[in-house]
Symmetry: C2
Subunit: 211 residues, 2 copies
């Protein structure tokens, strides 16, 4: 797949374009790169360049067909059918994220990332449910990931447990991890890890403050 | 300030280096770019290049002095003294984040981002506190931001309210916003906005899954 060689900076912008298309689809059938760029916060020339990696989607003077481009982006991002997700670490942040994503999947037919299972080590939580989602012990991870076809996970455990838990997710066959723990994970190249480390983002923003 | 011209990609890695230094400072007084890079998940050559933007911190064959580099990075990132932060939108995610950051500031002397105020529009919340933090009405934002010297904010309102609330934060004089709402914000250049949009991160990760 040549797609795999495309820079992550390009891939990062595709969900932004998709969100714009989802937003405008009720009111228009085509969109120019200028409008798409303005709404996504990306320069129009970069919009055209990004999309050109995947084919000739636009027509000179007409722009992009909204429904067609929406569908193509969904296929490229594997968002054209449900992806099963787990969340590991049912603390306060984990609970808030679980509720949000569970509700979002139920209410928004365009949101195809489906939270199917939660994991924790706390005996008071294991065996219970949260908004109908089962909470399993992390010891059952390998079994449940296979059985429930889980491909992606959100990691909301404390920093000290993050590496070990991420290793277990990898061993279980999870292919992508969104890490909320303030810890750098070392994992094999076949797992894709993204950081949602709020502390790092705040510390970076602090740089830009005029003291 | 020439620092301001340094690429954001460099700035993004500085908090990672700082975290490594904070972690190792009890057990060692110097660190090589190799070790710093390994622990931060960054190539050693890039570590040297990043730090060289700010001065000659390392010594050939000896590496970096941990305490000195830690102190320099704190100054560069404006983390050498407390920065006052607000959180706007006290829903389930907002509550979880507020609790986390409030506790972190209290327990970790190296964590200098201080959450001082929460804002919401819900009359059942306004006037109450969360873990001792006051919840104000968003109408009071300008007044409170000035009075409490708030420079940075986390935005956890629903997507439909994000732009308006971010505009009010900007008008009130907040210089940096970490946006959790699934919405692209349009703001003047003097405000620095970072996205902590979990949905976009998950959709990007979905690309890397082998279907």
């Amino acid at each position: 797949m040549t797609w795999k060689r495309i820079s992550d900076a390009v891939i990062r912008r595709l969900p932004l374009y998709l969100r714009v298309l989802d937003d405008v689809k009720e009111k228009q059938t085509s969109i120019s790169s200028q409008e798409l760029g303005d709404l996504a916060g990306v320069r129009p020339a970069l919009v055209r360049k990004d999309l050109a990696w995947f084919g000739e989607f636009g027509k000179q003077g007409v722009g992009y067909d909204v429904a067609f481009l929406q569908n193509e982006l969904r296929k490229i991002l594997h968002l054209n059918e449900p992806i099963h997700m787990a969340l590991v670490g049912v603390g306060s942040l984990g609970r808030a994220l679980a509720r949000y994503h569970h509700r979002r999947f139920q209410e928004d037919s365009l949101y195809t990332i489906k939270l199917v299972a939660l994991f924790d080590v706390d005996p008071n939580l294991v065996g219970t449910t949260l908004d109908g989602l089962p909470i399993f012990h992390t010891d059952e991870m390998a079994e449940r990931v296979e059985e429930m076809k889980i491909q992606i996970a959100m990691l909301t455990v404390p920093a000290d447990n993050a590496q070990e838990t991420a290793g277990a997710l990898n061993d279980a066959g999870v292919q992508a991890i969104l890490n909320f723990a303030p810890a750098t994970l070392e994992l094999p190249e076949n797992v894709h890890v993204a950081s949602a480390d709020v502390t790092l983002e705040l510390q970076r923003l602090a740089y830009y403050i005029e003291k």
